[in-house]
């Protein structure tokens, strides 16, 4: 028997064969280096080389096991074959997916906090300049809003009800502020009314260079970033080199953009009819009761012939279409990725160009990146990341404010031509459209506002394995940002006609450097495994700004400050802040079943008074992988993990130099002096957020469906806010810690494969979030806020109500008998005035989410992405001008304050009419600006993105080519009367005054074609 066996086996030993092959992954067909191949039942094996090739000497009847992190293990019987090519299927399961966490990487199965991770394939190729725009709607708990359609504009990112997360790009925290030294919005006195559109600091990062984005949502995940993590953290990891064949890819798309939704305005005839009807209505009222019109009212404005309103001669100008256009958008980028087992690299270069849908605007960006890693020895790795960006932006002057191009075009008179017969710009003063501050086409062309920016982000690091399981990493990073603003208002513009042209120029320079030192130690004792992490980081940001304003310019295109007759203003200033932090983390894992994470970060910030500089932010979390228990037998839910976390994070976003009371420079009579600048609260310190998170991760039938459910409760306490104080202190507001705001919510994430055959594949991903926001306490109740500094209170901070509550009169509709608009007499004093104001809506949505359907059939693939927001309102205050029912702003005969939208055609005309809009009026104002007349439902369902592609494989030197057509913002289901319900005219960066539409830049619909080519 024994001999027999030996006899039988001996020849086989002699017949050992050489099996070779290539291992690739299923998604993109890329080769996989370092795949571990062992003979089943033994420990002997080999690894694939950098080209994914392997070669192994085995007996012909053994079974080979292919193992690679992140992919399903595959067993293949050799059966005497000598060539075995293997395709590994990615393992989209909890077990081995890797997730980037603060200062490290963890297996998804070991995560105890609330982290959403999304990969490049989920957001690549979208026609947006900004990463936030491309992950919009794809992450539960994260609501990304585009407040304006301006090319290159900043986005509003809200994580679980908190605005403005910290962005960390390859470990470098980005600057949070707008990269420009000038405001673009001025009132008629030339005073700045705000920054208008903001430029986003993440728009300098090319979305296609990004490998993955992780959103750290709860305290357990975010607290390692302590001080700045109060509003969540977005970790951006760029692509790195891989050993193996050099991958070369070229991605390009080109397309066209149009105004997504247009607002239709009245024709000249309709407008004249509205004004005439208004005068007739007013005259009838005047004859009935003169007292309504006041003692000195002259009724002749109601009867004299309407001059300058000749419909037959009118050009019937459609102003919105005069200032908008179909605009091209295109993007081309080239990248290479490769290396060997010692050195790996990723490099890319790209060019993005987007013309604005408003005439004259554009945004262009060139970017370059190089990421390098090199193994000096087995224990020592060094590397560097460099990214450089150049951008140029022609900005829409006064974008998003009431003197901007769009705002002016809304309501401009149809009786006014764009150009006179002699080719000159028509002057609005001659056409009775007093809403205007200039001819909109003229201000778009004759105000030339450019911002150019240079950005350099760089890191060098070294990683040394001091001992087994003990690793030290140190890195030095710099973020250098420079921008130059150049705005010229020609002498033709009403802003600068009195001074013969005016120019503003400004230079902004920022240098942030960061040094991080992290020590990591792993140990395993039996079934217990521990990871300890400790570190020290220091960071300093220094900003320099200077600007000059000049007036009086010669003709012929000399538009720089040197050509100015007079320098009317010049400034030079700077600011700085520094942070010193100590951090630590412990991860404990018992048998992959019981998991515990504890973190502590101590942050010191120069922004606070000396005694309050340090803040301490601890967190702890636990998780239990129920499905790993021996007693667990459920066959439906094949993997279940239950998580709980609690911890503190902080916020220091108050601007520099509020830590003391300061004097600032000041001048009088040609002499320099000093005067008080601020009043500082000596108790000023860190804002502290506490967050509780409960979550369950699950997987159904080994990955057919997977998902997670989260519940969270976060309390922002000691809010850093501009608190109103007694004016007798010399200041109306002081930066203080005050108030508490609570966000309670839940999130659901589901991914499922509905269909999977040889030809068909259908994946669905759904996420939805509910957030409820409430002000729990504030030392002052009922604080009024204004979205624009010359509007009446549009918002209120009231205990018990959400942040961003709208304030105004409650509209009760049109009286069918009189056509009067009616409002609630809230204080029951018999008079309707602003004292009857009440909360009439909220800017923050309660519900939002997204649904992605990915279908592929053979070489075709189709991706449809829907996004929705519900439960919020929009204060469309623009309509108090463009739907003012013919009101002439008591300017006398021949005054059209503003053209009205076609909606107003549906107005009250005679007693008994049940109409949406009230009686037309010319003198006797029949609307109230701050009222719920203009509050609209902000909910929408948007077909955000549809992408249809076809892939050709193996065309000569080309590995594969994917051609696609795509539509962005294809359609919005909404009844909103403005351009788009997703709007915040003042940029919305403050959640307290968000959600007001005052003529924001319209959103575009983009149709494009593109190609992804891989060599």
């Amino acid at each position: 028997m024994l001999f027999g066996f030996l006899c039988f086996s001996n020849p086989l030993i002699a017949q050992e064969i050489v099996v070779t092959g290539t291992v690739t992954e299923a998604d993109a067909g890329e080769t996989l280096p370092d795949v571990n191949i062992i003979v089943k039942g033994t420990s002997s094996g080999v690894n694939t080389d950098v080209f994914g090739k392997y070669s192994i000497n085995v007996k012909p009847n053994v079974t080979l096991v292919f193992k690679y992190v992140g992919y399903k293990e595959q067993e293949i019987e050799v059966n005497g074959r000598e060539l075995i090519n293997v395709i590994l299927q990615p393992q989209a399961t909890l077990v081995s997916e890797l997730v980037v966490v603060g200062y490290g990487v963890q297996k998804k199965s070991q995560i105890t906090g609330a982290i959403t991770s999304i990969q490049n394939k989920d957001f690549k190729d979208q026609p947006v300049s900004n990463l936030a725009g491309s992950i919009q709607g794809r992450v539960s708990g994260m609501n990304v809003t585009v407040p304006s359609g301006t090319p290159g504009a900043g986005m509003l990112v809200n994580v679980r009800g908190n605005n403005g997360p910290l962005y960390v790009v390859d470990g470098i925290p980005l600057l949070s502020e707008s990269q420009s030294a000038l405001s673009t919005s001025f009132d008629l006195q030339g005073k700045s009314t705000g920054s208008g559109q903001t430029l986003s600091s993440v728009s300098d990062i090319n979305p296609n260079d990004i490998e993955s984005v992780e959103i750290l949502k709860d305290a357990s995940a975010a607290a390692i970033y302590g001080a700045r993590a109060a509003n969540g953290v977005v970790l951006i990891t760029t692509k790195r080199g891989k050993a193996g064949k050099t991958e070369i890819s070229l991605n390009t798309y080109t397309g066209t953009q149009q105004v997504g939704r247009m607002i239709e305005f009245m024709s000249s005839a309709e407008m004249r009819e509205l004004v005439e009807e208004g005068r007739k209505n007013d005259l009838a009222l005047y004859n009935k009761d003169r007292r309504i019109f006041g003692d000195d009212f002259d009724p002749s404005v109601l009867t004299e012939p309407l001059l300058g309103f000749e419909v037959a001669k009118s050009p019937n100008t459609d102003w919105l279409r005069s200032v908008t256009r179909a605009a091209p958008i295109q993007n081309t980028e080239f990248s290479m990725r490769g290396g060997n087992d010692k050195t790996r690299f990723f490099t890319s270069a790209g060019y993005f160009s987007q013309d604005g849908i408003v005439i004259e605007n554009f945004y262009k960006r060139f970017n370059y990146r190089l990421n390098l890693d090199h193994n000096v020895s087995d224990n020592f790795t060094i590397g560097a990341n460099i990214s450089a960006t150049y951008s140029k932006n022609r900005r829409s002057f006064n974008d998003d404010t009431y003197t901007g191009t769009i705002t002016n075009a809304l309501g401009a008179s149809p009786f006014m031509p764009v150009y006179e017969a002699d080719g000159s710009y028509s002057m609005f003063e001659n056409y009775e459209s007093s809403w205007l501050s200039d001819n909109p086409v003229k201000s778009a062309k004759e105000i030339r506002a450019f911002t150019t920016g240079n950005r350099l982000l760089g890191t060098v690091y070294g990683e040394y394995n001091i001992a087994k399981n003990l690793k030290f990493r140190t890195s030095f990073s710099a973020d250098v940002a420079m921008s130059f603003d150049n705005q010229y208002k020609s002498a033709l513009t009403s802003d600068a006609s009195a001074v013969g042209g005016e120019a503003h120029e400004a230079v902004f320079r920022n240098l942030t450097w960061l040094n991080e030192n992290i020590l990591t130690y792993n140990t395993t004792v039996g079934k217990n495994s521990w990871t300890f992490l400790g570190g020290v980081t220091e960071q300093r940001t220094q900003i320099e700004r200077s600007s000059a304003t000049g007036q009086g310019f010669p003709p012929g295109g000399l538009e720089r400050i040197s050509s100015a007759a007079t320098i009317s203003a010049a400034t030079s200033t700077g600011s700085a802040f520094s942070l010193l932090s100590f951090l630590g983390r412990v991860n404990y894992d018992y048998a992959g079943r019981y998991l515990l994470t504890a973190t502590l970060r101590a942050d010191g910030s120069s922004r606070f008074p000396k005694d309050n500089q340090f803040g301490y932010f601890p967190s702890a979390s636990v998780a239990w992988r129920v499905s790993q228990e021996p007693f667990y037998t459920n066959k439906l839910f094949t993997d279940v993990k239950v998580r709980a976390s609690y911890g503190l994070t902080g916020d220091q976003e108050i601007g520099d130099f509020q830590n003391k009371t300061f004097y600032m420079p000041s001048k009088y009579n040609g002499q320099s002096g000093i005067q008080i600048r601020n009043l500082s609260d000596p108790n000023l310190s860190w804002q502290v957020n506490t967050m509780l998170n409960l979550g369950v991760d699950f997987e159904v039938k080994g990955g057919q469906m997977s998902g997670s459910v989260e519940f969270f409760k976060s309390n922002k306490t000691r809010l850093l806010s501009e608190n109103i104080v007694r004016g007798t202190t010399g200041f109306s507001t002081v930066t203080q810690n005050d108030g508490e705001v609570q966000n309670i919510g839940a999130e659901l994430n589901l991914t499922t494969t509905l269909l999977k055959t040889a030809d068909w594949k259908w994946n669905v991903n759904f996420n939805t979030t509910y957030v409820k926001n409430e002000i729990k306490s504030w030392s002052r109740d009922n604080v009024y806020l204004n979205a624009f500094n010359d509007l009446e209170a549009t918002h209120i901070l009231r205990i018990g109500a959400p942040i961003g509550s709208f304030y105004g009169l409650k509209y009760l509709g049109v009286d069918p008998q009189t056509g009067d608009v009616q409002f609630e007499d809230f204080n029951k004093d018999g008079v309707i005035d602003l004292n009857d104001s009440q909360i009439i809506g909220q800017a923050q949505p309660n519900w939002f989410g997204g649904l992605t359907n990915s279908v592929s059939y053979k070489n075709f693939d189709l991706n449809i992405f829907l996004r929705y927001v519900a439960g919020n309102q929009v204060y469309n205050i623009m309509r108090s001008t463009t739907e003012n029912l013919g009101y002439g702003n008591d300017g006398g005969v021949g005054s059209i304050y503003a053209n009205n939208t076609k909606n107003v055609l549906n107005r009250w005309k005679k007693p008994g009419d049940v109409a949406e809009y009230g009686r037309a009026s010319f003198v006797n104002q029949n609307y109230a600006q701050n009222s719920s007349q203009y509050i609209e439902n902000g909910s929408f369902l948007r077909i955000q993105n549809v992408n249809l592609g076809y892939t050709f494989k193996k065309l000569k030197i080309i590995e594969n080519v994917r051609l696609y057509v795509e539509a962005q913002n294809l359609y919005v289901f909404t009844k909103y009367k403005g351009f788009d319900p997703e709007v915040s005219s003042n940029g919305g960066s403050s959640d307290r005054t968000a959600g007001v539409d005052f003529g924001a830049y319209p959103q575009s619909r983009t149709i494009l074609i593109g190609a992804n080519i891989k060599f």
Binding site: L188, Q189, D295, E429, E432, S434, A467, L470, F472, S494, S497, A498, G500, L519, V536, E538, T566, S568, T573, L579, L580, F582, S605, S606, Q613, T661, F662, Y663, M664, P665, S666, K667, Y668, N669, Q671, S672, G673, I674, Q675, I676, L679, D681, I724, R726, G727, T728, T729, G730, R780, V783, Y784, D790, L791, L834, N835, N889, G891, G892, G894, S895
Partner: protein, 456 residues
């Protein structure tokens, strides 16, 4: 493990050596605790007090123009902006943003003076006379601003009223909770500061961009007139008149007060320049073809009618109802603040003509008429006879008219009508609107401790 220890020690010691790391210095700020520490910085802080008067929300523009709208000389134009519309409609509410800004800007100046006055006793490197001069100017500014807050927000005509304003004479912390003082306490504090300033200010200083001794006398004269102390009002006015430092220009040159500036008619004038602009031009003129909606404060037709009834009055030349864009009416504009390029229009804090008009009022119908006529004749009008002003009421009206003609768009008439309790009788605006409401924010910030004015 030993290596670990060495590394940890290295890192800890590296960071322990960086204790000063979290100290940043702003290139544009000085720590308030040490900002005023010697003579030069005290002088700089005094300049800062003047500079803070220049704020467009207060004396740099809106202080005068809000009063003009509320007193009937001005109408408001501009876009449909509720706070501005309220001024034109004379229906100001506590939520009015312009009034709120005015309140805050005025108290800002008081804060600057208090901090300077607080630091001054510890400054030892100044000659005594110069130190006294700085103190005198700071106290005079503090008194003037308190008085102007009283005129805007307190019942300044009623010595028995409890509704004065908070008097702030010490550096405020966030815990301080000053309340409204009585009107008589207000006057006492204001007069005390001005009386002290009178002896402190160097009498040889004559630059009218700053508060001189005559500036203080003229302020005292005005304050006593409001308080009802005619004897003292007359005395201080006479003192200014008798200095010989000031002179009325002739009728043809009346407009030089506004286009040449710093003329012999000014006692205290806030000077602006091209790089340090006032808001007057932007608020009242803008540009030649500007329509009403571009201008915040336009002239009321009432003012036009008033000047049409005064043939020969050269001051009418500074009101234009003819040359403006008439697309949107009314089209009247004051010409006092022209100069669209430089926009360096002065704020006229104290003018010499007021001294004669105060004295004319203080001396009464018989003795005062000569001073009233002096102004009338100087401006191209004929002298009034006793028969023209047969009663005290008629005389009072003649004075009000003269003030309106002389000081329209300089922020006088509203306060004149309020102190004589004639707002409703003359303009039809309800008398409770003789003062502004206390800003709603102040009431919220004080949790209701600051009481609202009657009627609001």
């Amino acid at each position: 493990m030993k290596i670990l220890k060495i590394y940890s020690l290295l890192i800890i010691s590296l960071f322990m050596s960086r204790c000063g790391f979290l100290e940043e210095t702003s290139p544009n700020d000085l720590d308030a605790a040490t900002a005023i520490s010697n003579g030069a910085s005290a002088q700089a802080a005094l300049i800062g007090c003047y500079s803070s008067l220049q704020n467009g929300s207060s004396y740099g523009g809106q202080f005068a123009l809000i009063a003009e709208a509320c007193g009937g000389n001005a109408q408001t134009g501009g876009y449909n902006y509720i706070s501005l519309d309220q001024l034109g409609a004379r229906e100001v509410t506590p939520a009015n943003l312009l009034v709120e800004e005015l309140w805050a800007a005025l108290y800002r100046t008081i804060t600057n003076t208090n901090r300077l006055l607080n630091a001054l006793p510890n400054i030892n490197d100044l000659p005594a006379a110069q130190k006294k001069d700085i103190e005198g100017q700071a106290r005079a500014i503090r008194a003037m601003v308190h008085f102007d807050i009283l005129r805007y927000f307190g019942e300044h005509w009623n010595q028995n009223s409890a509704l004065g304003i908070p008097i702030i004479q010490a550096t405020q912390t966030l815990q301080d909770a000053p309340n409204r003082a009585t009107v008589s306490a207000n006057y006492a504090a204001i007069i005390s500061d001005l009386s002290a300033a009178l002896t402190l200010i160097d009498p040889t200083h004559k630059a009218i961009q700053f508060i001189t001794k005559s500036g203080v006398n003229s302020l005292l004269s005005r304050v006593y007139l409001y308080k009802g102390d005619k004897v003292k009002a007359e005395a201080h006015a006479t003192e200014v008149i008798n200095t010989g430092d000031f002179a009325l220009v002739d009728a043809a040159n009346y407009k030089t007060i506004f286009d040449k500036r710093l003329t012999s008619e000014s006692i205290f004038e806030l000077k602006f320049d091209n790089q340090n602009r006032s808001a007057f031009n932007a608020l009242t003129y803008g540009r030649d073809s500007a329509i009403r909606s571009e201008i915040s404060f336009i002239a009321d037709t009432i003012l036009n009618a008033f000047f049409q009834s005064r043939a020969g009055d050269k001051r009418a030349d500074l009101l234009d109802f003819v040359h403006n864009n008439t697309t949107i009416l009314p089209s009247g504009r004051t010409q006092k603040y022209r100069g669209e390029e430089a926009r360096d229009n002065s704020a006229y804090m104290m003018r010499f003509a007021e001294m004669y008009l105060i004295r004319a009022e203080a001396n009464g119908r018989v003795a005062g008429l000569a001073d009233l006529n002096l102004i009338r004749v100087q401006r191209g009008l004929t002298a009034l006879t006793a028969a023209d002003v047969p009663t005290d009421a008629a005389y009072q009206n003649a004075l009000l008219d003269e003030n309106q003609a002389e000081f329209n768009f300089e922020g006088h008439r509203y306060f004149d009508l309020a102190r004589t309790r004639q707002l409703e009788a003359v303009t039809g605006i309800k008398n409770f609107r003789s003062i502004m409401p206390i800003p709603g924010r102040e009431i919220i910030a004080s949790k209701g401790a600051i009481a609202q004015n009657q009627g609001y």
